[in-house]
């Protein structure tokens, strides 16, 4: 029953040195990501959520080695990405692609769509000559654009269209893993729904796995199989998506779910909403990094970092899981606009 994992991440760590100059060493390090471990099966979607600055994007970039990890191991499809020489790494990028947050900034403005899409195809020898041209056209239609868009420049497209181009580029080498870094956050809600659905359709068709980095819980709930919650560079809870929304175990997860915007104006705010700011990643708090903001914090939290506790399919790093789990489950519906939009699109799809 256990399929071998496509992606294994072990104790991935990325610290950025700060300060220092030409002749001085760095003064300290921003501990952006520390000891992040997870694994991903083929065709699965893992969402990484958390506040801004918690290290989500750094995790995504470090696991593709767009940022050189400080330590840790990343194994994709049996190949240890973290140990590859630069030329091998470039070749390995065929199997791992990325979709970026900003559809306006992530396409080279001086290259036509055709050039942009041909580039990875020719580079990784996916196809050549006439077949490469055909493949580019196929890609464009696959992501909902048409072949005549190929000779236009990025500035001639809308944000949603550009994100489709980015998806086509990520898809062009038939990768096994795509990291979506806030891939829909910059789009408006109706376009978000289209892109989320497109990503799901493509996953069904091509079977690649997604690491879906987002701060938008409603989108995560729609697309993810599993969710990892990050706080100050560490994963504090990881669980299947229904589990995490129905029974959030870590107090920080609860806080996040509480903080998400509520669609019904009449509903009262529950207690334990977000308090305080994220501490500095330059000097994370001792023990459990969340203790200064945690309603359940006790002495032990200040001194000892909690290890991972496995409960069923969930993995939680907290000293007070029992107390945390006692609370009522939190049901969170879609924002009405997105829900309506998704319904319309689902119906359209069902009709064929």
């Amino acid at each position: 029953m256990t399929t071998p994992p496509l992606l294994e991440v072990e104790k991935l760590t990325k610290h950025f040195p700060v300060g220092g100059g030409l002749f001085r060493g760095p003064k300290g390090a921003v501990q952006a990501v520390t000891d992040v471990s997870f694994s991903l099966k083929p065709g699965e979607t893992l969402a990484i959520v958390g506040e801004s600055g918690c290290g989500k994007s750094t995790t995504g970039r470090a696991l593709l080695r767009l940022l050189e990890p400080t330590s840790g191991r990343v194994v994709l499809n049996g190949e240890e990405i973290t140990g590859l020489a630069p030329s091998q790494l470039r070749a390995a990028r065929r199997h791992m692609q990325m979709i970026f947050q900003d559809p306006f900034g992530s396409l080279n403005p001086r290259m036509t769509v055709r050039e942009t899409l041909l580039e990875p195809v020719l580079l990784h020898e996916v196809a050549s000559g006439e077949r490469a041209t055909k493949w580019v056209e196929t890609l464009l239609t696959t992501v909902g654009l048409s072949a005549h868009h190929a000779d236009r420049y990025p500035h001639e497209f809308s944000g949603g269209q550009r994100q489709r181009i980015c998806i086509a580029r990520a898809l062009s080498t038939r990768p096994r893993l795509i990291v979506c870094d806030e891939a829909v956050s910059a789009l408006d809600v109706s376009v978000q729904a289209q892109i989320v659905n497109l990503l799901q359709d493509l996953q069904r068709e091509f079977g690649m796995a997604y690491v879906f980095i987002s701060h938008d819980l409603s989108v995560v709930r729609h697309i993810a199989d599993r969710v990892a919650v990050m706080y100050l560079g560490r994963i504090v809870e990881e669980a299947p998506v229904e589990e995490i929304f129905a029974r959030p175990r870590h107090p920080y997860t609860r806080m996040l779910l509480e903080a998400a915007p509520k669609p019904e104006p009449g509903q009262a705010r529950r207690e334990g909403a977000a308090q305080g700011d994220t501490p500095s990643a330059l000097k994370p708090p001792s023990g459990c990094a969340f203790h200064p903001r945690c309603p359940l914090a006790s002495e032990v939290c200040k001194t000892t970092r909690p290890g991972d506790t496995v409960i069923g399919a969930a993995r939680v790093a907290c000293h007070h899981i029992e107390a945390a789990t006692e609370r009522t489950s939190i049901e969170r519906p879609w924002p009405p606009a997105l829900a309506a939009r998704l319904k319309v699109l689902a119906e359209a799809r069902a009709r064929g």
Partner: protein, 307 residues
């Protein structure tokens, strides 16, 4: 790069000479039209083009050999009192036709300026782009550039002439070297802005080599801004070049060069001022038109200045 077989109807541009790719996104006709709508810019470009044309066609346009002495010395221009119709702009102290010398002189002056800006711009921009591309190099490269910045062009010219002997080559080298730090700083600034954009990372994520990333992503996005800076720099270089000639470095007689012509006319300034004034006016016009045209080009092409 592995762009082996590519028969697509629009092949991947191999940006060996990126000059042609400069203004891809804003359609060419569009910015040209906007450029010419600016009357001052249109006039400056027209005048500069005329001067360049005159310089290029000097052997056909010049009525006399620029080095040919005659007995008609220090004749004022033909439209002034005492002028002779054979010499439209008069003659200098040795009876050489000023119009002919002007045409040939602007040729040399423009050539010195172009080669110096081209060399200095290419080297400087490359250093600047590289420094932005490899952040690790940046502090070292920029400190080196600071050292270079501390040599004034005129001093450098004098030193080079002392070492290499007189001629236009040491002057060109001095001018080129003195443009390197400015160009490097400007190119670095432009490139830093481009490097911050996500598409650089996207290119890396696709698996591009550094060379491809540098050429197709960084250079292509910087080149138009750099060209604008160089067109502004051109005017300054012409001026410094003329200054060096005026000081007697650079071109040697009997060759004509605008700065040198002005210097020679200095001796007759009191009784035949036109000998010095005419070449000085031409230098002034070249510098002015180059600056106005460069400014206008920047206004039209620089997206940051567009409202």
């Amino acid at each position: 790069m592995t762009m082996a077989t590519d028969t697509a109807d629009r092949p991947l541009a191999m940006p060996a000479n990126d000059g042609g790719e400069v203004a891809a996104p804003p359609p060419r006709a569009h910015w040209l039209r906007r450029l010419l709508r600016d009357k001052a810019a249109a006039a400056a470009i027209l005048l500069l083009a005329l001067i360049c044309l005159g310089a290029i066609l000097a052997p056909w346009l010049a009525p006399y050999d620029p080095a040919l002495n005659s007995r008609a010395v220090m004749k004022p221009p033909s439209f002034m009192k005492g002028g002779v119709p054979e010499h439209l702009l008069g003659t200098d102290g040795q009876g050489r036709d000023i119009l002919s010398r002007l045409l040939y002189g602007s040729r040399l002056t423009l050539l010195i300026g172009l080669v110096a800006v081209g060399l200095g711009g290419a080297v400087g921009s490359f250093i600047g782009l590289l420094s932005a591309f490899y952040a690790r190099l940046d502090p070292w490269v920029m400190r080196g550039i600071d050292i270079l910045l501390s040599f004034p062009a005129i001093l450098l010219g004098l030193a080079l002439v002392a070492v290499m002997g007189q001629g236009i080559v040491p002057v060109i080298i001095a001018l080129a070297v003195s443009s390197v730090p400015d160009c490097a700083r400007i190119a670095r600034g432009i490139a830093m802005g481009v490097m911050k954009q996500e598409f650089i990372e996207a290119g890396r994520a696709v698996g591009l080599s550094d060379v491809a990333l540098f050429r197709r992503y960084l250079l292509r996005n910087c080149i138009s801004s750099i060209m604008i800076f160089l067109s502004l720099r051109f005017g300054q270089i012409i001026l410094i070049g003329a200054t060096l000639s005026f000081l007697g470095l650079g071109a040697q007689p009997p060759a004509a060069e605008l700065g040198m012509m002005a210097a020679q006319g200095r001796e007759y300034l009191l009784f035949a001022p036109h000998i010095a004034v005419i070449p000085s006016v031409l230098i002034f016009l070249i510098v002015l038109t180059a600056n106005v045209a460069g400014d206008a080009l920047r206004d039209v092409l620089d997206p940051r200045l567009q409202t």
